[in-house]
C-alpha cells in the first residue's frame, strides 16, 4: 500500500496540480488581502479563461503557451472592469453583499458558458500531449511539468510585481491603510481595480498552463473555487507564502486521497480540511491576520 513506486508518482503529480492551485489561490488571496473581499467568481473566471485558451487553440491554432500574451491582459481587463463597474458599487457597507454579487457574476458566467458551449467536457491535443518526463521512478506528463514550472514562475513574477514595483507599493499601502494611502495621493479605486485585474490575470496564466494537462466544461470552475478558498484559508487570508505552500499541500493531499480513497471520496479530504481550518484556525497556519 505504501509502495514507493506508486507513492512517488502520486506525490509528484499532486505537486504539479498543487502549483496550479497555488497560482489560482494567489490571485484570490491578493484580492482578499487588498480589497478585503472574497471573490466568489474566481472559479468561474478561471473557467472563462480556459474556454478562451480552448477557442484560441481550436479556432485560431494558437498553442496554449503562446496564448499567454493574450490571456494575461485579457483577464486583467475583465477583472479591472468588473471591479470598477460592478463590484465596487455593490457593497453598501456589508461584506456579504460582495459575496452575493460575485456569486451572481459566477452564476451568469457559468450559465453563459453552458448556453454557448453546452455541458460537454472539452480537451485539447498539442504536440506535447503524449510526451512524458522521467523523474526517478515516475513518469510525469510533459504538460504537467511545464504547468508546474510555469505556475511557479508566474507566482515569482507576481511576487516581484507586488514587492518591487511602484504599483506593488501602492497596492500594499492601500491594503494596510486605505485612508492614509488616499491622503498620500493614491487613487484607491484605481488600485482596487488594478489588484482585481492582477488577481484575474493570474488566472489567465493559470489557464494557459492548465488546459493542456486538464479539461474544460462550464462547471469546471466550481471545483476550483472551493479548493482555492481552502488554500487561501489554510495559508492565511492575504498571505502570499501561505497560498504557495497551501496550494502544493492541497495538491498532494488530493492526489494521495484519490490514490487511497478513490477519486470522489478523495475530494472530501479537502473540504474537511477546509471546514476544520475555518472552525479552529480561521487565520490560517501562516500567521497573516484576517
Amino acid at each position: 500500500m505504501f509502495d514507493l513506486s506508486i507513492l512517488i508518482p502520486s506525490v509528484l503529480n499532486g505537486l504539479t496540480t498543487g502549483a496550479i492551485y497555488a497560482l489560482i489561490a494567489l490571485g484570490l488571496t491578493l484580492i482578499y488581502g487588498v480589497l478585503h473581499i472574497i471573490n466568489f467568481a474566481h472559479g468561474a473566471s478561471l473557467m472563462l479563461a480556459l474556454y478562451a485558451v480552448y477557442i484560441l487553440h481550436t479556432k485560431f491554432g494558437i498553442t496554449p503557451y503562446w496564448a499567454l500574451p493574450i490571456l494575461i491582459p485579457g483577464m486583467f481587463l475583465l477583472g479591472y472592469g468588473l471591479q470598477k463597474i460592478v463590484i465596487n458599487r455593490s457593497s453598501h457597507g456589508r461584506d456579504e453583499n460582495i459575496l452575493l454579487v460575485t456569486l451572481g457574476i459566477s452564476i451568469v458566467m457559468e450559465n453563459l458558458a453552458l448556453l454557448v458551449f453546452r455541458s460537454d467536457t472539452q480537451t485539447i491535443e498539442t504536440d506535447l500531449t503524449l510526451a512524458v518526463v522521467e523523474i526517478g521512478p515516475a513518469f510525469i506528463s510533459t504538460p504537467k511539468v511545464i504547468a508546474f514550472g510555469g505556475a511557479l514562475l508566474s507566482s515569482l513574477i507576481l511576487y516581484l510585481l507586488i514587492s518591487k514595483t511602484d504599483l506593488g507599493r501602492a497596492i500594499r499601502a492601500v491594503s494596510k491603510e486605505k485612508a492614509g494611502a488616499r491622503l498620500m495621493g493614491i487613487d484607491v479605486d484605481h488600485v482596487y481595480a488594478m489588484t482585481f485585474g492582477i488577481g484575474l490575470a493570474a488566472l489567465g496564466a493559470a489557464a494557459c498552463f492548465l488546459l493542456p494537462a486538464y479539461y474544460v466544461n462550464p462547471q469546471v470552475g466550481s471545483g476550483f473555487v472551493l479548493i482555492a478558498f481552502t488554500i487561501v484559508v489554510l495559508g492565511g487570508m492575504g498571505s502570499f507564502g501561505g497560498a504557495l505552500v497551501g496550494g502544493l499541500l492541497i495538491g498532494v493531499v488530493e492526489s494521495l486521497g484519490g490514490l487511497y480513497l478513490g477519486e470522489s471520496l478523495g475530494q472530501i479530504g479537502i473540504f474537511l480540511i477546509f471546514i476544520l481550518v475555518l472552525l479552529f484556525r480561521p487565520n490560517g497556519f501562516f500567521g497573516a491576520k484576517a
Partner: protein
C-alpha cells in the same frame, strides 16, 4: 391583526385559484413559484432575520429530500409520517451545522463558505454511499393514492404546497413579532449590543438555523414527492442554495412577503424568457444571476424595500 388578514386573504386567493382555471400550466406556474418562495422563506429566517448568510442551504434541502424518500423506500414509512421525519432531521442537521459554526464564532463570508463546504461534503458522500443510490439516484415508484401522498392530479400537490407556504407565512409573521424574533433581529443588527443586553446569541442563532433548516427540508421532501426522483446533484448541488437566496434577496430580506414576491417575480421573468427564446440551457440561471447582481447593486433592500423607500419619501413611519 392586519398582517393575519393579509395572510388569510392570500390563502383564500391561492386556494380558490384551481377553481377558476383548468390550465395545468397556470397551476404549475403558481405551484412552482410558491415552492421557490418557500425556499426563500426558509433562507430568510436565518439571513433576513438573523443576518447569517448561508451559501449551502441545499444541505437541508437534500437531507429533507433523501430522508423523505429513503424512509419510504428502505424503512417502509408512510410518506405522511416520513415528511415530518424529513423536517425533523433537516432541523437537526441545521442545529449541528449551527452548533459547529456559531460555537467557533464564524460570521459573514466565513459562515457562507463553511455552509457551502458542508453541502459539498454531503454531495460527495451521497455520491459514495449505497443508501442514496449513488450517482444513479433514487426513484419513488408510482403508486397514486392519497394515502401514499401521490395525487391523481396536480391539484393535490398544489394544495399541499399552499398549506406549507401558509404555515411558513404564519411562522415568519410570528417571528417578526415574537420575543425570539426580536432577539434574532437584535443579533443581526449588533451582536455585541444584543449580548450586552442579555441575549445569548449562540442559542438564538442555533434555533434560527434549525428552524430555517426545517423549512428547507420540507421543500426537499415536497420536491421528491412531486418529481419522484432525487440524485446528489439535485439534492446538494448549488441550484437549491441559489434559488433560496435569490428569491429572498430579490424580494426583500427580513420581510414576511419578500421571498414570495421575489419568487413570483423571478418565475415570471424566466417564463417570459422561455416564451421569447425557447428552452435554452442555463437561461434561467443567467436571469437569476443577473437579477441578483442588479438587485444587490441598486436595490439592496429588495423589491419590498422599494415600497418602504417610497413610503419613507412621503414621511410616513415604517410599520
Amino acid at each position: 391583526m392586519k398582517p393575519l388578514l393579509s395572510i388569510a386573504a392570500f390563502t383564500a386567493v391561492v386556494a380558490l385559484f384551481p377553481l377558476v382555471t383548468d390550465s395545468g400550466v397556470h397551476l404549475n406556474f403558481v405551484m412552482m413559484a410558491l415552492y421557490a418562495g418557500l425556499m426563500g422563506m426558509a433562507w430568510n429566517v436565518l439571513a433576513g432575520f438573523g443576518g447569517q448568510f448561508s451559501f449551502g442551504h441545499a444541505l437541508f434541502f437534500g437531507f429533507g429530500a433523501y430522508i423523505h424518500i429513503i424512509a419510504q423506500l428502505s424503512w417502509g414509512i408512510n410518506p405522511w409520517f416520513a415528511i415530518f421525519l424529513a423536517i425533523a432531521v433537516s432541523a437537526l442537521v441545521g442545529a449541528v451545522v449551527g452548533a459547529l459554526s456559531f460555537r467557533y464564532g464564524l460570521k459573514g463570508s466565513y459562515f457562507a463558505l463553511v455552509t457551502l463546504a458542508f453541502a459539498e461534503v454531503a454531495r460527495i458522500l451521497a455520491l459514495s454511499v449505497d443508501i442514496t443510490g449513488g450517482g444513479v439516484g433514487l426513484m419513488l415508484p408510482l403508486k397514486p393514492s392519497v394515502a401514499n401522498m401521490q395525487f391523481e392530479s396536480r391539484v393535490g400537490y398544489y394544495y399541499m404546497m399552499v398549506v406549507m407556504v401558509v404555515v411558513a407565512l404564519l411562522l415568519t409573521q410570528w417571528l417578526k413579532g415574537a420575543r425570539f424574533g426580536a432577539y434574532l433581529q437584535a443579533i443581526r443588527d449588533n451582536e455585541d449590543a444584543a449580548r450586552a443586553a442579555g441575549v445569548d446569541p449562540f442559542q438564538v442563532k442555533l434555533r434560527a438555523i434549525a428552524l430555517s433548516g426545517a423549512m428547507m427540508g420540507a421543500t426537499g421532501a415536497f420536491y421528491v414527492q412531486v418529481f419522484q426522483y432525487i440524485d446528489p446533484a439535485i439534492a446538494f448541488g448549488p441550484q437549491a442554495s441559489v434559488e433560496a437566496l435569490v428569491a429572498a434577496i430579490v424580494g426583500g430580506l427580513g420581510t414576511v412577503w419578500g421571498p414570495l414576491l421575489g419568487a413570483v417575480v423571478l418565475h415570471t421573468l424566466s417564463d417570459v424568457t422561455r416564451n421569447l427564446f425557447g428552452a435554452l440551457p442555463g437561461i434561467n440561471m443567467i436571469i437569476y444571476g443577473s437579477v441578483l447582481v442588479l438587485i444587490v447593486m441598486f436595490l439592496p433592500r429588495g423589491i419590498a424595500g422599494l415600497g418602504v423607500s417610497v413610503r419613507d419619501l412621503f414621511g410616513k413611519k415604517r410599520s
